[in-house]
Amino acid sequence: MILDSFIWRAALAGVGVALAAAPLGCFVVWRRLAYFGDATAHAAILGVALALSAGLPVFLGALVIALAMASLVASLSGRNVAMDTLLGVLAHSALAIGIVAVSFLDGVRIDLMAFLFGDILAVSRMDLAVIWGGAMAVVGLLGWRWSALLTATLNEDLARASGIDPQREKLILTLTLAVVVAVSIKVVGVLLIGAMLIVPPAAARVFAKTPEQMAVLAGGIGVTSALGGLAASWHLDTPTGPTIVSVAAAIFLACTIFGLIRRTRQQA
């Protein structure tokens, strides 16, 4: 049984997270929500602390707090406030308060690094079930609302005239973001979830001609990064989460350079 091997469980966990992060990450990029993703992810560490102190599953605590943070930010974004500053305040405060909260938890021995940067090699069967359950729910939800989400992303008035409620679509993105954050903690940690959302779609943009191509390519790049990062960290004995993101960054760099060369050739 391959699930008996921790390396296979790690590989499957990485693939699951990459598949869910890719289509959601596309919307994060298209709507310029990078900071929004960070704020939600950083808040999750507070959820981890609360869950551990209450003896609840870490996933549940992270999900609830991530959802609360995402809803808060989403409701503020409709109003006339300086979003950039506010998101910066929220993202960093949430992270700091979360870490302070974790430090209060004596009695339980907690590896803080595991929550900040992931601990993919320690993924259990139960974790794997949660990751894949969450990932499939996210992909299913985004696939079901794909056209409506795209229309609302282009222009809210246009969406409304087509009978789409932009607020509802925003809620779906908020919800899926919270789920992705919660299932990604074990794999890349709260600090690097933002990278899994942004980097693969950004690399895919160079080759994509349609939104669907971009989502599929981002998924491919995400999976390649997860598996490549896992292999690299195995051989180099480096922390796995950051290695996965480093591989994704290397792919992004290669794609971007390729795109630049292609453009100069076309102009020549």
Binding site: S147, L154, D157, L158, S162, I164, P201
Partner: protein, 257 residues
């Protein structure tokens, strides 16, 4: 214009009845009543902050009136052209795919629609690469896909030069002729827009005056709002206005003061 029976003409497509909209404590619209009938071109003009966009949103159902009501004919097909479409360069979207959002349409229909607005050659281009004028025609092509009964345009020629917007309005008139749809537009380009309209509604929080373009252009309420800075509009109509108007409006004229 296509032939319409008197009965069809009487049947309103969208009607606002005594609509008042308050947003965040401020009264944006007060006691606005208007009717859009099949096949007519209605233009809403008004200075900045006069509630034009809010009125349009209220008529489309995106804003709920604080008082009064908006009645749209059940199952009304609306074609909407937004003010502008800012599309993030990170979103790859060919024109044909854009026309299939949110509802997939057959490619032949999409191409025919693009042909009708004069941009058939742009079918495979990326939306993010289009110029302002090309974008407006693509948006128009998308709006006429569902054979609309009413086309709604929100400042559709913003960013186009004068000859560009004149050509765009000629296209709208042609489309109205072909499709027999009503057209409701909001604009600040008085002289170009008014010439193409059957009816002009001058708005400044309330309906200041309403009627045929010539009538509105010479109305004192309109002149009070736009002053003499709108030579184009006035010059266009003044020559046939050596007679006097007695403005038998049945509403107060607060805004003219």
């Amino acid at each position: 214009m296509p032939e319409l029976s008197d009965r069809a003409r009487d049947m309103s497509l969208i009607e606002a009845r005594d609509v008042t909209v308050r947003l965040g404590g401020a009264t944006i619209l007060s006691h606005v009543s208007l009717t859009i009938r099949p096949g007519e071109i209605v233009t809403i003009v008004g200075p900045n902050g006069s509630g034009k966009s809010t009125l349009l949103k209220t008529l489309l159902g995106a804003v709920t009136p604080t008082q009064g009501q908006v009645i749209a004919r059940p199952g009304l097909r609306v074609g909407y052209v937004p003010q502008k479409l800012h599309i993030d360069p990170t979103l790859p979207l060919p024109v044909l795919r854009f026309l299939s959002l949110p509802k997939a349409v057959p490619k032949t229909l999409a191409r025919k629609s693009l042909e009708r607005t004069g941009v058939a050659a742009l079918a495979d281009r990326q939306v993010a690469d289009l110029s302002g004028g090309q974008m407006q025609r693509v948006l128009l092509a998308r709006a006429i896909l569902n054979d609309p009964e009413v086309l709604v345009l929100d400042e559709a020629t913003q960013g186009l030069d004068q000859s560009g917007s004149a050509a765009f309005y000629r296209l709208i008139e042609d489309l109205r002729g072909d499709l027999g749809c009503a057209v409701l537009m909001v604009s600040h380009e008085l002289h170009v827009v008014m010439a193409a309209s059957d009816r002009v509604i001058c708005l400044n929080g309330h309906v200041c005056c309403e009627g045929a373009p010539e009538h509105v252009a010479s109305a004192p309420e309109y002149r009070a709002l736009f002053g003499t800075g709108t030579q184009g509009a006035l010059a266009l109509y003044r020559h046939e206005h050596n007679h006097s108007h007695d403005h038998a409006h049945d509403h107060p004229h607060e805004a003219a003061e």
